[in-house]
């Protein structure tokens, strides 16, 4: 199978601030239920994009469609187009395995592989991709751990089990693991909801530096977090994308009154 991604890699760095990810008329169904309705939105390179909205509004569903995680949910179906650098991720010649290598994901609860060391956790993605060169692996592991602001804390115990770290460290380990395969997009599904305020602050700081390498799409329940970390915010309600605006504008001068009602805490 030809890999439509390969062509794009060279052009990748040239087109910063270009549109990286674009959804056109994306609807997501669970069986007959339409959980996300004809969403159209685009995210630019090297930005942090927050998805907010009350529980059940479809924001996590939309996020999981981006790296084709929904292929794994029985009965889930996606229509419309999701374009990464102009390639439809749901195109018939696209392998979901390739999509997930391009689009990393960090989950709500830290989920390091508990039988693997810190080192092996970070190296896992590369080993899956077939990399066996030890010095290459060493280099990427260090770079990824530095990228996730964890290197200084773990550099002397890379052989320790990944699960022996604290919750906040485990989440940064998961970020390092996602970074190791050099993804273009990093999806974060409420990455700090299981963490204490201090660990949350560290990860929020981290996002600022991460966007130099990747485009981030983050689902968050916490509107303060959205306003602190993101460049754009998308507000979902009952499966509809109500508003997508620059974050500063969304939180000071929302266009839609439902957005205003939500961010001022009238519901949700």
């Amino acid at each position: 199978m030809s890999n439509p991604f390969q062509v794009q890699v060279a052009e990748r760095t040239a087109s910063t601030a270009a549109i990286r990810l674009e959804a056109k008329d994306v609807s997501i169904f669970y069986g007959d239920k339409e959980a996300v309705k004809k969403v159209g939105v685009s995210f630019r390179s090297n930005t942090v994009n927050a998805l907010i909205g009350p529980s059940g509004c479809g924001k996590t569903t939309f996020l999981r469609a981006i790296n084709r995680m929904h292929d794994l949910t029985p009965g889930a179906r996606v229509t419309g187009q999701l374009m990464l650098d102009g390639i439809n991720l749901y195109g018939s010649d696209v392998d979901p395995v390739d999509v997930r290598r391009r689009i990393g994901m960090v989950f709500q609860k830290p989920n390091p592989f508990p039988t693997m060391s810190i080192y092996d956790n970070v190296a896992a993605g590369l080993k899956l991709a077939g990399e066996t060169n030890k010095s290459k692996l060493d280099g990427v592991v260090e770079k990824s751990l530095r990228g996730a602001a964890l290197w200084e804390e773990v550099k002397d115990r890379l052989k320790a089990p990944g699960a022996s770290l604290s919750g906040g460290q485990q989440q940064r380990l998961c970020i390092a693991r996602a970074l190791s395969v050099d993804p273009e997009i990093l999806l974060m599904d409420e990455p700090t909801s299981a963490l204490d305020p201090q660990s949350t602050a560290r990860i929020e700081d981290l996002m600022e530096s991460l966007k130099e390498q990747v485009t981030i799409v983050i689902v968050t329940h916490n509107m303060q977090q959205a306003s602190r970390v993101s460049d754009t915010t998308s507000f979902f309600l009952l499966g509809d994308l109500i508003e997508h605006s620059p974050t500063a504008q969304m939180f000071t001068n929302p266009k839609d009154q439902r957005t205003e009602a939500y961010i001022s805490g009238k519901f949700g």
Binding site: L72, N111, F113, P114, A124, L128, A163, A178
Partner: protein, 308 residues
């Protein structure tokens, strides 16, 4: 409606004390039973131990006619059949468990799982009969074919070590498979998603996300299966040939500790009876050792942070 239930404090605690005492005595009864069990086996087996010394465990000569009682052939038989059965049963069981949990649609997973569990409910004499009427002829034809190809001077009988291993393998599968299925089901979904999100294929998710997480539990099932295989008596006795000698090859007649006890106990007297009881004691000791090793290995394999 009465809001004030008059229940004297003292009465409640008296009932608690009584209940606690009953529970403690019942629990102690189990310990006493195990203790007496050991005492009876040691006392009954002592004359044989005294007569043969270490030769009882390391000697090859078991002959009631000359009153030599050395049990190595049967110790070897038990471990050969037990581990042989595991070599066949474990890959099949883990594969079946993975199929049930990870691949099969629900309408297929439930009946398949149920049928595998059913294997555990079949009485061992039925396995023995199946061994005699199905396995032994099959093994015999295989042996004949082997003799034809290699020119070995075997008499193909079908009875012996291989048939015992095969019958035990089938008997052990439901235990290993049921436990493997349960622990694979218990692997948190976020482990699967973590692997998928890194671009893993289904096989890689199983290889890196599921099996490492479940390995301690699967091994627990394997040990349980080994215990079952070493302890199984009737079905083995029916197909193994009950020869008091160490197996010379994969197809020769031999015996296990339990099959020897079953086949000789009826007509045994004197020192032979002592020797069989001593063999029973050895069987107990081996079970304890296997379980202790299992505990250590399982603790070592259980991933940090997932220990209950």
């Amino acid at each position: 409606m009465t809001t004030d239930v008059k229940r004297p404090r003292s009465m409640t605690s008296a009932a608690d004390t009584t209940f606690k005492n009953i529970i403690i005595s019942l629990a102690s009864l189990v310990l006493v039973a195990v203790f007496l069990y050991g005492v009876v086996l040691i006392a009954g087996g002592f004359p044989a131990f005294a007569r043969e010394g270490f030769g009882f465990i390391f000697g090859l000569d078991w002959n009631p006619g000359t009153e030599k009682f050395q049990a190595l052939p049967f110790i070897a038989g038990s471990f050969l059949t037990g581990f042989g059965a595991l070599i066949i049963a474990v890959p099949l069981s883990v594969a079946a468990a993975l199929f049930i949990v990870e691949y099969a649609p629900k309408w297929l997973a439930v009946p398949v799982g149920y049928m595998i569990e059913m294997l555990a409910a079949i009485p061992s004499v039925v396995y023995g009969l199946w061994g005699i009427f199905v396995l032994i002829p099959a093994v015999r034809s295989f042996q004949s074919w082997l003799v034809g190809v290699t020119g070995l001077d075997w008499t193909p009988t079908g009875i012996g070590l291989m048939s015992a291993i095969l019958v035990l393998a089938v008997m052990v599968i439901p235990y290993v498979c049921a436990i493997a299925r349960d622990v694979i089901q218990l692997v948190p979904n976020d482990q699967r998603e973590a692997a998928y999100a890194l671009g893993a294929t289904k096989w890689e998710v199983i290889r890196y996300g599921i099996l490492p997480y479940a390995r301690a539990g699967i091994l627990g099932g394997v040990i349980l299966g080994l215990g079952r295989a070493i302890g199984e008596t009737l079905a083995v006795t029916m197909v193994i040939g009950n020869a008091s000698e160490i197996a010379k090859n994969l197809f020769s007649s031999t015996a296990t500790m339990s099959s020897l006890i079953a086949s000789q106990f009826g007509e045994a007297g004197g020192v032979q009876l002592n020797a069989l009881i001593a063999l029973g004691f050895l069987l107990l000791v081996f079970s304890v050792i296997v379980n202790l090793i299992a505990r250590v290995v399982i603790t070592k394999l259980t991933p940090v942070g997932t220990r209950l």
